[in-house]
């Protein structure tokens, strides 16, 4: 009986977690690189224009910023795509 309660509770928690994560992850995933660039750069410093670096330089800089700001993988890729469009 006690084991069942634990299993049911865990199942509910996992289901809620998966549903919430899926729904909202999609919301964050739907953001454009431009939005993520504005939201994340300004957490520490002014947002740079895409003309500040070349495409290759942006790849290096963005990886460095991923280290500093602990960006997620999706944020890193979308911001990089956005910055490289300007070169």
């Amino acid at each position: 009986m006690k084991r069942n309660k634990i299993i049911v509770t865990l199942s509910i928690l996992i289901t809620i977690g998966v549903v919430v994560t899926s729904c909202v992850s999609a919301k964050i995933n739907d953001k454009t690189g431009s939005q993520l660039w504005t939201e994340n750069c300004r957490r520490c410093h002014n947002s740079p224009p895409s003309s500040a670096f070349t495409n290759v330089q942006w790849e290096v800089i963005n990886t460095h910023m991923r280290e500093r700001g602990l960006l997620t993988d999706v944020e890193y890729k979308k911001i990089l795509d956005f910055m490289q469009q300007g070169d």
Binding site: V20, T21, C23, V24, S25, K27, I28, E39, N40, R42, R43, C44, H45, N46, S47, P48, P49, A52, F53, V56, Q57, E59, V60, I61, T63, H64, E67, R68, G69, L70, L71, T72, D73, V74, E75
Partner: protein
Amino acid sequence: MKKKLILFSAITLLLQLSLFAQQYNEQFIDSLVQSVSQAQVAKGTKFLLTGYVTSTAEFTKTKSSLSAVGLTPILLWKPNDRILVETEFETGFTGNATNMELGYADVSFYVNKYLSIRAGKFLSPFGIFQDRLHPSWINKLPTFPLGTGEDQYGIGPISEVGINFKGGAQLGESKINYSFYASNNAQLITDPTNPIAEGTLSYGNMDVQSKKLTVGGRVGFLPFSNSTLELGVSYRNGYVGDTSAAYQNVNAKLYAFDLSYDNQLDFLKGDVDIKAQYNKSDVSNAWYIDPSNPTSGNLYTYNNSRSSYFLQAAYTPSMFPGKFLKKTQLIFRYAGFTPPTNAIGLTDMKQYTYGIDYWFNWRTALKFAYQSQKDNNVFFVQLAVGF
């Protein structure tokens, strides 16, 4: 005979000219190929020199000086998609001498979407100031907040030497980031000839040895999907005494709580940026030589628990008309330090800093600040240029 000599000389000269021309052409072609290939290599190489230059002047009632000029080059190299090499050198003047310090030098390996492993000397993820905000082109004021450096008021390291596991992930509408490490130990200062430093911790000494490595980490939580707010908790635990019987079991536990908020607020017609950090350190019981009479050999002890904190708020009228206002920023910072009770030579300290910055571009600022700290009031002017 004379004709033959002229003919021989003419042929020799022609040969020399032709050889010279050939040599010239080869050198020219070689240099051309080299320059083209070098350009192609440079274009494909993921190597970048970046960093910042800082020049600071300070004025008090009794002195005026250009107190600090510094160049901090940062070398970044990404040899492939999974590896990043980062190195920062801090150069500046001390008196007449130029000094150089290795800010960080580390190699990161990206294991998967959620984890990277970094080894070497890296900025400590203890709070947010040193890890993210200390470069002069980011720091909105010319000085570091009281309690964040590695002086008698500082709590927590600037950098670590060790191995670091870190990453970030979505968590529903929110985000979480994490950074855990095992690193070299700090060192408890027990020198009675320097009473204000006695009982503090020194970091970054490669010779420090103790029973176990220090472990620590920070977890950051961004509750809103627009990443405007981040709350962080840091912890660091390790032995800090030397291997002698008197100090080998002395341990230090450090905690930090940080907050970061940045958003454009319509009702204020501008951007608001708030940063805050609270640091605490608890060093376990240790005996120190009485600094008021160091030759006596008298020992004394106290509860070596100290804390420091800062709160910084900045406002940029970004929604006002006019370029000048949009590039101007007002800043206020309040910082403090609470020493251990009964520690000899240390007193409670408060620091107030008022600043105004003008941003020529996203990484170049001219800063003016007035800082008041007990009897020490200083006016600063600083030019910070990122490159």
